[in-house]
């Protein structure tokens, strides 16, 4: 490559990388359009970086992305530093706003930014950079969506516009080794974090490239174009894994030479290196299996006509032509092809027990309600007494059989033959006498309690005057 063409390529790459910054500049420039949010006092470049920081850090973890709650809890203290009176609702709204901007909610699409690029014929032409910064994914199928940063967003976050990723990874590791060897542990911790973020970026970059290959298997020469790149990638990843192992071993050796604070920093460095090694191992598996993925995709796409691959534009190729067809024709077709619109489903069988308990209940009365006619008072019959004559006799006989000075509990013991009505009546009579309504009986309490399952309260002393 000549010096001129090298310069041209570098400028083209830089111009494209700067185009990736446009959404963040637009966000800052247009913040006045959201008067309901307190954005005027916030530096949105800083807060966008804070969002990316949480996301990239979480992408290095097992879950491979950050939840909304994680982003909110990391951002809240920083927002409160800038605006101490901000309430929880506003913190939530500002966080949502930042994420909506980074995911391009307004356009519901990737960002599309024009930039100028120079051709080999030394002519400047307009090109379109199509990219995403952040996207929401259901990575584990558990319905817990996680925000994931694109390689472009990580590039912005790492302030490394237009650098060659593989070379930068090697440079990051060299810097980390230098810091560990010379005992610059603060710098080593920071460098380890950057190296991990770069590994995450490389993973995203590679996955995206592989996806592009899958999309257009027909237009690529797999053996001549793709396989050599896969070989290079495999070599690069294996080198990184070796380097990460060596650095982790070096960090461990250094631990014995340093104090407690230094050891803690080295533990952090080692953790970052281990996560990076795990990421690289995952990527290596992906590289190894990409040949099979390609073959499967090739077989799948071979059955589709070339004009239909990969997918037609839902708006221009389908919706608009369909809307121009006569409604009657569309109706006939849809009635016969409703299966296109919804997934297959198992028809719910009626639940027999539910039918018995809920659906087959007796019909509610539908007759008109008869008016209630009040009877004449003289025609009202005497109410049925609560206790029968036999019960009353039984209760009185039991009391008579006891000495004149007795206790309620003794009376109840006499009535302990399973007839609850009799015991109930005895308790009611004792209560009535306690109120002083009966002249011949004196009732008093001495603090003792009844101990029966059917009666609760004071065990009363009953004194009856002899009959006159």
């Amino acid at each position: 490559m000549s010096e001129t063409s090298y310069l041209r390529e570098t400028l083209n790459r830089r111009a494209k990388s700067l185009a990736h910054l446009r959404p963040i500049f637009d966000m800052e420039a247009n913040k006045g359009r959201y008067p309901e949010l307190p954005l005027a006092k916030l530096d949105l470049f800083r807060f966008a970086s804070a969002v990316l920081d949480v996301i990239v850090t979480e992408m290095g973890g097992f879950h491979r992305g950050a939840t909304y709650e994680q982003i909110l809890s990391a951002l809240a203290p920083q927002l409160l530093q800038a605006l101490p009176n901000l309430d929880a609702t506003k913190v939530d709204r500002v966080t949502s706003f930042l994420l909506d901007q980074l995911t391009n909610e307004r356009e519901r699409d990737a960002f599309r930014v024009r930039y100028q690029t120079s051709t080999p014929e030394v002519r400047l032409e307009w090109a379109l950079a199509i990219f995403k910064l952040v996207e929401l994914r259901d990575l584990e199928g558990d319905g817990q969506p996680r925000y994931v940063a694109s390689a472009e967003a990580i590039n912005i976050y790492l302030e490394s516009l237009g650098v060659e990723l593989e070379a930068q990874q090697a440079a990051d590791e060299a810097a980390l080794q230098h810091f560990i060897r010379h005992g610059k542990l603060d710098e080593a911790a920071l460098a380890a974090r950057t190296a991990l973020a770069r590994t995450v970026e490389y993973t995203e970059h590679f996955r995206k490239a592989l996806r592009m290959v899958e999309r257009s298997v027909e237009s690529l020469n797999w053996v001549a174009e793709v396989l050599p790149k896969l070989d290079q990638a495999r070599n690069h990843i294996e080198e990184r894994i070796h380097a990460e192992d060596d650095l982790a071993a070096e960090a461990e050796r250094k631990m014995s030479e340093t104090d407690q604070a230094g050891r803690e920093k080295l533990v952090f460095v080692k953790e970052q290196l281990e996560i990076a090694a795990r990421k690289h191992n995952e990527l290596l598996t992906l590289v190894m299996s990409s040949n099979r993925i390609f073959l499967d995709e090739h077989a799948r796409q071979s059955f589709h006509p070339v004009s239909l691959a990969p997918f037609p534009n839902p708006q221009t190729a389908v919706l608009k032509p369909l809307l121009q067809r006569p409604a009657g024709e569309t109706d006939q077709w849809l009635v016969a092809n409703w299966h296109l619109l919804h997934p297959p489903a198992i028809e719910a069988l009626p639940d027999f027990s539910q039918m018995v308990t809920k659906l087959w209940q007796e019909r509610r009365a539908t007759e008109t309600v008869q008016p209630i006619i009040a009877p004449e008072l003289e025609n009202i019959e005497e109410p049925v007494p609560s206790f029968t004559t036999e019960v009353k006799i039984r209760v009185e006989d039991a009391l008579e059989s006891l000495p004149p000075e007795t206790r309620l509990s003794d009376w109840l013991n006499e009535l302990n033959d399973g007839n609850n009505d009799a015991r109930h009546l005895a308790v009611l009579l004792a209560g009535q006498w306690y109120e002083g309504l009966e002249d011949g009986v004196v009732i008093s309490a001495d603090g003792r309690q009844l101990e029966y399952s059917d009666v609760y309260g004071d065990d009363l002393l009953i004194s009856r005057k002899p009959h006159a």
Binding site: D109, D138, P310, P312, V318, L322, L323
Partner: protein, 247 residues
């Protein structure tokens, strides 16, 4: 190692689990295990595919995270029907609901790149009123391009005019307006596990799940093929008429 009948039993079970709304390998261990076997064991995969064919189903996508994505054959045993969507619909409702499905698909995936995104990418936030507005805007732009001609029955009205004959919204709470119909459709999709429903600042919003992307890929491909056939038929007729005239 399972014997052949047991293999067939678990294969059928995998398909039934895949058809159960909101069951995923993440929330159902059995589904996860069967899916692992489906991915790793070619013999088992072929058996599942064969049983799916017998059940008049097609495996349109598979992911160890999101499960098997099934679509039905026309009039298949498990094919969804108009009645399973909404009973006793009038002609006016049927056509509007059918077209609204395509409006929603085009709104969620505004171009082929979004439709071609990786399976696990969730859609942007979807507001019922925005989808209805999108329908009106597209139909109005199509109406502006077409000269108004006389039509003799509602069957002959173009789809966009049919849609524009419905009010966008109705404050009295009626069901024959675009906002109410879109909400009904989104809620139905959410029950089927194709959309997530959530609240934000007191507003109910939706997000399309990976399963919806697969359904739309199927729906868009099949519909495009049909439209392509219609166009070819039209051209053949037109050429025939021209040839007659020339003779």
């Amino acid at each position: 190692m399972l014997d052949a009948p047991s293999q067939a039993a678990v294969a059928a079970r995998l398909l039934l689990l895949a058809m159960t709304p909101r069951v995923t390998p993440a929330n159902n261990a059995e589904y996860g295990e069967l899916l692992q076997r489906y991915t790793g064991d070619t013999g088992f995969r072929d058996l599942v595919k064969a049983i799916a064919r017998g059940m008049e189903l097609q495996i349109y996508g598979d992911s160890t995270v999101h499960g098997l994505m099934l679509v039905s054959q026309p009039n298949g045993f498990f094919a969804p029907t108009l009645d399973s969507f909404r009973r006793n619909m009038s002609f006016r409702e049927r056509v509007a609901y059918g077209l609204l499905h395509f409006v929603l698909a085009a709104y969620v995936y505004p171009n082929e790149d979004r439709l071609n995104d990786e399976d696990d990418v969730l859609s942007h936030k979807i507001r019922t009123a925005d989808v209805a507005r999108h329908a009106v805007e597209i139909c109005e732009s199509l109406r502006a391009m077409h000269q108004s001609g006389e039509v003799f029955s509602e069957q002959c009205v173009e789809g966009f005019n049919h849609m524009l004959s419905l009010p966008e919204t109705d404050s009295s709470g009626g069901r024959q307006n675009l906002v109410a119909m879109t909400r009904y459709m989104l809620e139905k999709y959410a029950r089927e596990g194709l959309f997530q429903e959530f609240e934000e600042a007191g507003e109910t919003l939706f997000r399309a799940r990976p399963q919806f992307r697969i359904q739309v890929r199927f729906m868009i491909r099949e519909t495009e093929s049909r439209l392509f056939r219609l166009m070819q038929e039209f051209e053949a007729k037109h050429n025939g008429a021209m040839a007659k005239e020339a003779n």
